[in-house]
Subunit: 348 residues, 4 copies
Amino acid sequence: MKAGIVGASGYTGGDLIRLLLIHPEVELTYITSRRYQGKYVKHLHPNLRGITDLRFDELSPEKASECDIIFMAVPHKASMNIVPDLLAVGLKVVDLSADFRLKDPDIYERYYCPHTHPELFEKAVYGLPELYRDELKKAEIAAAPGCMAASAILGLAPIIAEKFIDRDHIIIDAKIGSSGGGKNFSFASHHPERANVVRPYGAVGHRHLAEINQELSLIVKQPIKVGLSTHAVSMVRGILSTIHVFLTEPIENKDIWKPFRKMYNKEPFIRFVKQPSGNYRLPDPKAVIGSNFCDIGFMLDEDIPRLVILSALDNLIKGAAGSAVQCMNIMLGIEETTGLLIPAPHPM
Amino acid sequence: MKAGIVGASGYTGGDLIRLLLIHPEVELTYITSRRYQGKYVKHLHPNLRGITDLRFDELSPEKASECDIIFMAVPHKASMNIVPDLLAVGLKVVDLSADFRLKDPDIYERYYCPHTHPELFEKAVYGLPELYRDELKKAEIAAAPGCMAASAILGLAPIIAEKFIDRDHIIIDAKIGSSGGGKNFSFASHHPERANVVRPYGAVGHRHLAEINQELSLIVKQPIKVGLSTHAVSMVRGILSTIHVFLTEPIENKDIWKPFRKMYNKEPFIRFVKQPSGNYRLPDPKAVIGSNFCDIGFMLDEDIPRLVILSALDNLIKGAAGSAVQCMNIMLGIEETTGLLIPAPHPM
Amino acid sequence: MKAGIVGASGYTGGDLIRLLLIHPEVELTYITSRRYQGKYVKHLHPNLRGITDLRFDELSPEKASECDIIFMAVPHKASMNIVPDLLAVGLKVVDLSADFRLKDPDIYERYYCPHTHPELFEKAVYGLPELYRDELKKAEIAAAPGCMAASAILGLAPIIAEKFIDRDHIIIDAKIGSSGGGKNFSFASHHPERANVVRPYGAVGHRHLAEINQELSLIVKQPIKVGLSTHAVSMVRGILSTIHVFLTEPIENKDIWKPFRKMYNKEPFIRFVKQPSGNYRLPDPKAVIGSNFCDIGFMLDEDIPRLVILSALDNLIKGAAGSAVQCMNIMLGIEETTGLLIPAPHPM
Amino acid sequence: MKAGIVGASGYTGGDLIRLLLIHPEVELTYITSRRYQGKYVKHLHPNLRGITDLRFDELSPEKASECDIIFMAVPHKASMNIVPDLLAVGLKVVDLSADFRLKDPDIYERYYCPHTHPELFEKAVYGLPELYRDELKKAEIAAAPGCMAASAILGLAPIIAEKFIDRDHIIIDAKIGSSGGGKNFSFASHHPERANVVRPYGAVGHRHLAEINQELSLIVKQPIKVGLSTHAVSMVRGILSTIHVFLTEPIENKDIWKPFRKMYNKEPFIRFVKQPSGNYRLPDPKAVIGSNFCDIGFMLDEDIPRLVILSALDNLIKGAAGSAVQCMNIMLGIEETTGLLIPAPHPM
């Protein structure tokens, strides 16, 4: 089968190209970039020198239609105006922008901008296979999750419906590397400014909040509002979400293990991490960087009824390109882990 | 006046030496190190080459007694057994270990070990001038705060007694650089392991919790228990405490400004940071590294009744050696800011 | 075919495991670790959690003999005493230590220690396929090169015999990440000490000099002695060798291109990098991290007759485990690039 | 006495402000910025919050004339057109741009652009007090050296005239942090791109070469041309110049010590670093960051007649603002070390 990528010049696009080049059952035949049309991949993605001779092409639904599936790696707003043309020529789409993640156009507008194609929302499935595997099989659009949202939702989904969870006092304190900001540079991303920071750039109001609240609310069938604060830290890749959950009653470790095991026991890309010792006894982005894994672990606070869930992933892989390829595998009827169980070098 | 340092070979000791060498009214005349006795300072602290010819001496209360004040920069447990001998020769002591920070020997024992000299607790004042300036003037022992505790307490003290604060749901999510672990190396601090991490090393149960709960409880005259989770991040110096506070009622920015201004308006080392734009519109350790400042700012969450307080300081300065020197100034009747308003180089 | 690794608990061992796990034609069946015998791989290599259930076994030539080839990932000196037993049971060996890289036992002794099995030197081939592809096909021992040596030799080999090269004034100024020191921690590798350094730890006398001089001398059939200075820089992986070569006569770019193209044109893991613009217009370890590529480029100095060759590789891959697997492929008659053309994530 | 800074919004300007604010004998009364006129210093330099209430003013020779001395911290080309107006109102000038460092307008033009005021060259003294202390006492213009040039020249000056130095084969391999590029951001300085690099951005042809060749040639009274290659490494501050010098005859350590001691024995900001052991046994930028020191050390190569000189400094201090203030002290008849012997925090 054949895949294409619209907007493949950025960091997420680069990781999509990489993952598709090593995918044994899908061929990457078409990549576009408005700005770099005609240029070789290697000029934009130095890691792919010597690996591929692909060139960036123009965006054309006709050319795209020779593929079986298209990944959208353009910014939100740009995506919503291209996707309809791709669907029109019968393509399946995995959208990595925010444009098809939300169910409610008003909420989309509040966090982003007015949406020009809300009629497509019903064709879109939120692109977390751990939550929507069955729906993804038939989806026309998979909306790959926001990186921070993926990390938070995967950490909370198994236990949010438990009665011992105080749903009114949930805090997600996220730490993310600089690649999360994409390829657009600014004074904020200038190395002397960005190195060695713990910058609370989204202390409140981060856009991924919309997805997190939506997905958690869908699970419990009641509106949930979490508190999300995001911090830029001094690394290139990775997210750790520290999820602070107050408890309504005293519980034991097994009360947490049980629902997590139930939901994730057979998940190929979720790893439970809770060892008695070692540098990686709890999730740390460092152990997942370069891979499609999301590591999840927890600690119970003995002082106050509190549960601390740690959820770590690579923002560009499980938080973007990796989840997207996982969605593709499901949508195309390919074994879900195909091309994604490549272990990452360590340490990095 | 003359000052000495017991245990001056570590990172905190190094910063104490540095601060005392540039202090215009106090002379550093005596530094000890069991391990490096006889060696020059420059062999342990390369930044002090060309600045001082001091040598590490043996520990001797007699020699110490030629000073007016002694800083204890040895680990907890070691300190409690030396301090009595120093008090006995009439010295004032600023202790940077945990040994005299707590009021309750049982709590000390729970978090550390049995205490051999709890009778001295009444002579000790918690070394945060912002809270105990008057008491420090006459203190025999100033117990410099734990770095994480200093950051958390300074962030919460002004508002913890406000009626809109939900004292039962307070989360402190702290991020700290590698110097916080001191000079003792291990596989956990091995550079390939420690670089690029967000390691939740103290997801629950961090020792500084004891001080934080104690000091906040003293302010409100009721027991308070906060949730503290600490993370090692990829930098050498600095702490950011992100303090998540749920609110019992809707408030406005000015409701927070008011108590903060009231408490800190004249504090020389607390800076309010809340600008509309810029890389440093909220506190970030990067802006305080190398200085005795603690930057404090906040954001109100519009989605849920939540207040996010950010508190940033240099763990080795305002979180240790700087607060200690500030205490010394007060204890010796010297103008409090003396030697401490040196701006730090930026960016680092 | 089956492969085993003796001493698989370190960083190089970890990357060997990783590369062999993704190798489509070789199965990793046997890994040893004296210290971690019985433990699962995932306890030592967090990136391999969820990928393999292998456990560390004891070292036993019998058990090893069920493999077709054994990788030695133990330190020098340890290796030389194990290899004979492996050869005795008919195994082929890829040794990643320094023990079989040199031809002259006296030079080995000068840089390392007395060698107990110099009689095996004639069975060993220096493990750089770019130089010894044919010899490796029949080798019993492949001696994978030192990381710094690989980088330097690959940068110099194509032009060292050219008449315009002043062989008496060659400087190799190398910069390396912290993983180059392996897993053994010390105060030198303590993160607060090791971060943000440019530490000239091997200004003169680095051991890899022995290999570099040997291999360059073999090419020109005359003794060559280069000047090598190595620096620890603030990153985890990667080496850049900046090779400064004085010229005996004025030359043009094409005079350099020609011999490089001649030697490397068909090499699958050597990439020429010399673009007019861009962040990666010349080799930078950042573009090869995580891959088996060695990027080579150069600049001619217009001011003085000088050639600057840049050679970048990942010290743990092309500088160790990757070259070792490349050797294995050749020794076992497998297509040389098998399992090694996996592109690395970028940026890291 | 009073000082002013023209163009004080950048990194060098920030360090100048900082150094002048702590200077006990000079008052900083006037700072300009075209872009930030009217803004407070704290908006641009977060480290100076709470330290000063200075605002950026417009550039006006009249206003400047109330000072005794003006620092030019604007880019080259801008500086040359302002300096004449400042001299015209009787001011002394310390120029941190490249505009008055060179003696030959043709060479200036080759490396920079045509010079509009070469007639001022004779009033300018190269701002390295270690070389031009006497000349600086009466200078109207001190031309603070380029950071890379300062490091290289200080490393070579004492021995360049020795007969055992092969002046035709000198290589300076420099490694520099990201602050060396100033405050202007670009894709090259984007954190995901700039972190973890060893980027040979100036493999040949770096502009500081002009100063280095000039100053070394002046010492030996013969034209010298060195080979300079500069690398961006993963840190914010600091330069290490590794200076590779071939020798015309065998020498001993003392042959190097002697000329170095002779020239630098009384220099307050040059530290010899050559210890038998320890993380800082040779110069490393990490030990000088935040200070005005230049650490110099060396190793003799036993294999080939080669001398490796290591020279480390903070590019923004001894490589810019610190040397500039040192010049100012000399020009104003103030004790040279005034305000500059502040030790830096360590580790950073």
